[in-house]
Every structure is written in structure tokens, then in C-alpha cells.
Amino acid sequence: MIPELGRGAVLLGLAACSVGAVTGMWAGKTGREDVWRWTRIAAYVFAAAITVATLLMEYALITHDYSVKYVAEVGSNETPLTFTIVSLWSSLEGSILLWAVVLAVWCAVFAYSMRDKHPDHAPWALGCILTVGVFFTFLVAGIANPFERVPNPLDNGPGPNPLLQNHVLMIIHPPALYLGYVGMSVPFGMACATLLSGRMPTAWARAIRRWMLVPWAALTVGIILGGWWSYEVLGWGGYWAWDPVENASFLPWLTATAFIHSSMVMERKEHLKGWTIALVMASFLLTLLGTFMTRSGVFNSVHSFTQSPIGPVFLGFLAVALLVSVVLLAARVDLLTVPDAKLAGPWSREFAFLGNNLLFSAFTFTVLLGTVYPLLNEVMTDVQISVGEPYFNRMSVPICMGILFLMGVGPALPWGQTEPNVLLRRLGTPIAVTAAIIAGCLAMGIREPMAVMTFALSGFAGVVTLRELVDPGRHRARALGEPLMKALMTTWRVGHRRAGGYIVHFGVIIIAVAIAASSVYRSEAEMTLREGQTKSFMGYDITYTGTERIDEPHRWSRVARFDVLKDGQPLGDAEPRLNHYKKMNQAIGTPTVMTGLDEDLYLSLVQVDPEAKMASLSIVVEPLVWWLWFGGGVMLLGSIIAGWPSNRRRKVA
């Protein structure tokens, strides 16, 4: 029953979005109201159909209906309920269904929101987004069909990959990431609409930025959660490995961030339009590249799904999307360049934004090059090489220093041309703070150049950001005689886009400091303990107290218990474990992370010998890791504040 129903729902969705794609373009071209209405209805039907399909799949997973192909692949009677629900996105076909449903819902939300706005552009945009939907739904209906009926269903299945059952973060990381990835289709559709219609009114430009903010925030959260998951689960104490698929998620984030900044110039000064539109399209194209890399089997990665015929189809779609983007851009170059306008000189905020675009584009290019280079080399010379962490770290550190620097200088620069000495006066305090930080570092014995530079530039940018946040309130309080707190709240409420943006900057600065501290000052050791023995490392006293075997339906684990004292004070019990899953050869460890505000103690169990009463541990002490996740939260908070719908915007009839 479910295979047929599910497939039927998917086919209905496919029909709806195909119709909508065509009518959307038609409505855009002719401006007909009724055709626009059909497009919106098509979007709603598309969303409803795919949602039904997804719910049917979840139902099949939860009830262990092994007659459905996808359930037969990833389901298991022993998997706990939460992870069964989550197994919707643990394997290839399910993940594409997830992509389709998120896209369909975005289409519906877009259609509803645009129902009485932007009649010149919205139909084109929805038509384009629905075209993207056609591709993904076609995959779900065709090659990647999770609803295929299994001829002789078994009564149990292999269960999802054990690594995906280890931690609660598996529940939120993929949906956040998908919300981001898929959401990039919307600004892409809107950019295509701009180019197709040949007009770019300011209101539309502003709308594109608003619709980019949610995917951007979701992608930010998704990436940080990915790092957190890697840290908590994989046992090596790191959070970013420059793995091809990690890079694939980072690339669109870079271009989307550049877009958000560049579009500010576009809105205010009608400049950098070419850059801005190109960045929006690049963000979407890079998400396509990302999903291609994960699913094609061409790249060797932690995230790779198994090889499948989907790869070539994805590449084909990517090629088509690239071609369409390039053609549209080339056709409408006049729309994007302003012949008589003058970009303000080098001491202006516009110029800083241009520099920002360049820096982020260079970063994107570098990461892309490093990721694709081994493939290029192998194709040309038939020799496999690696381009690993050392290269990426070496290249990204200077670029990130540049970004931190711009975060300080940019907001200090006014719009329009200015004199260099005005700039120097505005930067007086920040520079003084920077110098103080450098002196402080050297005094405290912190000498590693990367760390000192990061801290110094973070201080620089931090002071400027704080000032920009607080100055409007202070001026208002002085001018109107208001109490400071009230003035601040008013300016933050009224100028919430600006305030939110600066809060995001704060988050980035916190993350930069955390990364510098945790990578430069990381300490590792290995120790083997007999039961009852205590050994010390970096101020921690660790005592092995015993081991226990725990049996669960889907795995058995060996847990080793340790008492941990920090500087003489009890910190708690650590219980790292080694999990043995059915059908997996080697044990998969669950490390214990004891988080503190100043540093994390990371314990990973290497080996336990219950008869000999010995346990081997790997220990890592990393400073300021908590601040990484906290910085991510700050970035999310800032985006929410910036993106909050403001009451002042009135609907233009």
C-alpha cells in the first residue's frame, strides 16, 4: 500500500511543480494575474503532495514496513525510535526526499508571501524555483525512488550506519543544513527573475537579501552543528578536517556571506550589482556542487553516500544551471553596470565592501581549488595525491586575518569619499586596544604569531563593532536627554537590521578567538591505567575505577569509568565507551567531553582489558572550545534580530 501511495504522492507533486514552473514563466512574461494565481496554487499542491509523501515514508519507517525499499535499506527493529525517525535522512534516497520536501515547503511559503507583492518579478522567481523543484522531484520519482516495492520483504533490516546513531546532534545537523542548502534556491530564483525581467527595483533587491538571510542563518547553524557533532562523536577531538564535503558546505556559505554584504552597497548606492547577482547565483550553484560531491561517489569523504547512477544526473543539472546563469548574466550586463556612476574612492565603505567581495571570492576559490585539485591531478597524471589540512590551514589563516581586519575597518569607514586622517582618528581607540592586547599577550607569554595576530585583530574588530552598536544609542540619549538604556533599546529596535548584523560580527569574532586558542594551545597525551591507578595531565587527575558491559538491542558497549579531578576539585565521572554494533567490524568509540568555560577535557577510550584490569585512554585538553558553539549561538541570535519582520514596512498596493 505505502509504496504505491508514496509514489503517487511524489508523482502528483512532480506534476504540480512542472505545471507551476511553466505557468510561472508564462505569468512573468505576460504579466497575467490569473496565470500567476495558477502558479501559486501549483506551489501549494506541490508542497502538500511531497509533505504527504514524506509523512508516509516516516510512517513506513516507524512501523518497520520492510516492503518499502528505503525502509528495507536503513530500517531495523532494534534501532531506537528517535533514530528511526531520523533515518529518513541517513541514506541517499531519503536525503533527496528530504531535499524535495524542504524545497516544496519553501516554494509554498514564497508563493504565499509574494501573493500580493512584486507582480513583475515574483512569478518569474517562483517559476524558476519550481524548475529546480522539478529536477529534485524527478529524481525522487525516478532514479532515487525510495518508495519502490520490495518483492519479498524480510522482517528486519540492517539499521542505519552506526555512526549516525551515536548522538543527538544527528537529529538537528542535517535538517539545519538542508534548510540552508535548499533555501539558496529561493534567492537564486529571485536573481534569475531580475535578469529575466530586465529590471531591478530597490524593493526587489532588498527582498532578495531578506530571502537569503534565513538560508544563510540555517547554513551557519548547520555548519557549526556539523563541527560540534564531529567533535563530540568522532573521537579525535577536532571539529573541522577540511573534508571535501565539509568544504562543500563552506563554499556556499562564503559566497552567501559576501552577497549579504555586497547587497548593502547595491541597495544604498546602486553599485556592485554585477558582483551581488553573481554571488547569489554562485551560492546556489555551489550548493548543487556540494550535493553532487556528497552523492556522486567521485570524492573520498566521511560523508559520501554510496556510489549510484545519480552522480551523472546531478552533474548534468549543475552544468545546465551553470550555463543558464552565465547566459542570463551575459544577456543582462547593462542592467548590472551603471555607466556614469562613480564608485567612491579607496577610503570609503563601498570600497571596503568591494575588498570584502574580493577576499571572500578568493577564499571560495582557494577552498574549491584545494578540494578539486586531487581529482584534477589524478585525471591528468593518474597519480593520487592528497591536499589536506596543512594546505587549507596555511591558505585560510591570512585570508581570515584579512577578514577580521576588514570587520574592524569597514564599519569605521563612512559611506562616500573621506580623507585618510579622518579614518585614522576614528580608528584611534581600536588601534590603541590592539596594541594593548599585543602587549598583554607578550607579557603573558603568548608568542605564537597566529594566536597573537588573531587576538589583536579580534580586539580591533571587537572595539569597532561595539562602538557601532552603542554609539547611535549614546548619541540619542545625549540629544534627547533620554536614559541610556532606553535610548539603546530604541535604536536597536528601530535599527534592528544593523544591530543584528553587528551582533553576528561579534559571534564571528568570538569564533575566531576560540579557533585560534583551541588549535594553537591544544595538548594531547595517551595514558594506560590499572584499575585504581591515578595519573595526571595538565592539572587533571584521572583515576580508572572500573569497567562495565552494557547490552542494548542494537549494540553492546564496554564502558570505562574514570574519576576526574581538576586542580584538586572533583569534576565528575567520565564514561567513555567503545560500542560494538551488529555487522560493524571495529568498535566505534563514544568519547567523553568535559566542558568548561576555559577549556575542554576530551577523553577517548582506546582499549579496555577487563581481565587485566587495564584501560588505555587518549586525552586532549583544548582551550575555549565552548566559545565556538557559543559564538555560533550569537551569530544565530544576530541573524534573528536582523531578520525579524519589522512593523514599519507597509504593503504597497
Partner: protein
């Protein structure tokens, strides 16, 4: 239509797509046949029963060295192929020897008791021999001819055809 922009866009995108397309059909797993054609690293190891085995001593006869583990599924698939080859070619003078990779000897003994084998399985303490042979996964099989040169390295389970053709070549 601005032809310069169009051309520039195509010049940047087309090579990228071409590179990605060229990646299909390639196995992304990292393997190397760097050792083919070189002298096989000599080793002296002990069998599971405690007897000594020296690769040097096998010189003058072709030898097949197979790295395997009990936790490796493809190794189990490959086992019948090895059994048949050992039965057929052992009498013709081909040495078969297996090296245990990242596994416990107790598990190996239990497995072999069940499935049987006609050749010694060697313990590799510290994995030094595996490292010397550049073993990056199991199963990996090295075909060494009478002079001690590695004629062929197969990553993954050896198929019947490859086994037979390589052994015929070596004899």
C-alpha cells in the same frame, strides 16, 4: 548579449564540469600499485601455531601473500577463491600464505577452524609488515614471482579469473 562575459563564464565553468565528469568511473578510495615491479619486502613471521615462516625461504617459487581479517566481509567472499587456487596450484609449487591484519589471533583461529585453509596464517605484530607492503585496507593480495618481484597487487577481493591468469603467468 555580451559575448565577452559569456565567453569568460564558459571558460571558467566548462573546465570545472569537465574535471568532475572525468571523475566518474574512478574509485575514490586511495590505493596504489606503487609496489608492483619492485622487490617484495622480506619478512620473518610466526604462524598462528607458533611455527616460523620466512619469505626469503620461499624464494625460487611463486608466492601469494594475502592480507585479511575476520571482520572483513569481502575477505570472506574471497576465501573460496583462495581455497580453490591453493588446491589447484599448491601442488604445482605455488606458496600461499596469509597475514592477519588488525585482528585478534583468537578470532582468526576460530574462523579458520570453521572454514578451513590449506596455508599458514601469520601474525604481524605492530602491523609492521602491513605497513611495509603499503596495505591500506583488506583484503589485499600480492603475487610474488620466483625471483621475489611483486608481479601484481590486487586491492579488494580477488576474482577467479584474475587469480588464475596471474598464477598461470607466474608459472
Amino acid at each position: 548579449m555580451n559575448w565577452k562575459v559569456l565567453a569568460a563564464g564558459l571558460v571558467i565553468s566548462a573546465p570545472l564540469v569537465a574535471i568532475l565528469a572525468a571523475g566518474f568511473g574512478r574509485d575514490p578510495k586511495l590505493r596504489s600499485n606503487a609496489l608492483e615491479g619492485t622487490q617484495a619486502p622480506m619478512f620473518d613471521l610466526q604462524t598462528l601455531d607458533g611455527k616460523a615462516f620466512s619469505l626469503e625461504g620461499a624464494r625460487g617459487q611463486p608466492t601469494v601473500v594475502n592480507f585479511w581479517s575476520t571482520w572483513c566481509q569481502p575477505c570472506k567472499i574471497e576465501h573460496p577463491v583462495l581455497m580453490q587456487a591453493a588446491r589447484a596450484y599448491g601442488p604445482l609449487g605455488v606458496n600461499f600464505v596469509a597475514v592477519l591484519y588488525q585482528d585478534e589471533t583468537s578470532k582468526a583461529r576460530a574462523y579458520l577452524k570453521q572454514s578451513g585453509s590449506h596455508w599458514p596464517t601469520l601474525e604481524d605484530p605492530g602491523g609492521r609488515t602491513a605497513i611495509a607492503y603499503g596495505v591500506a585496507g583488506v583484503p589485499e593480495t600480492f603475487f610474488i614471482d620466483a625471483d621475489g618481484t611483486i608481479v601484481r597487487k590486487v586491492s579488494g577481493p580477488v576474482s577467479q579469473e584474475v587469480m588464475v591468469s596471474t598464477l598461470e603467468q607466474m608459472l
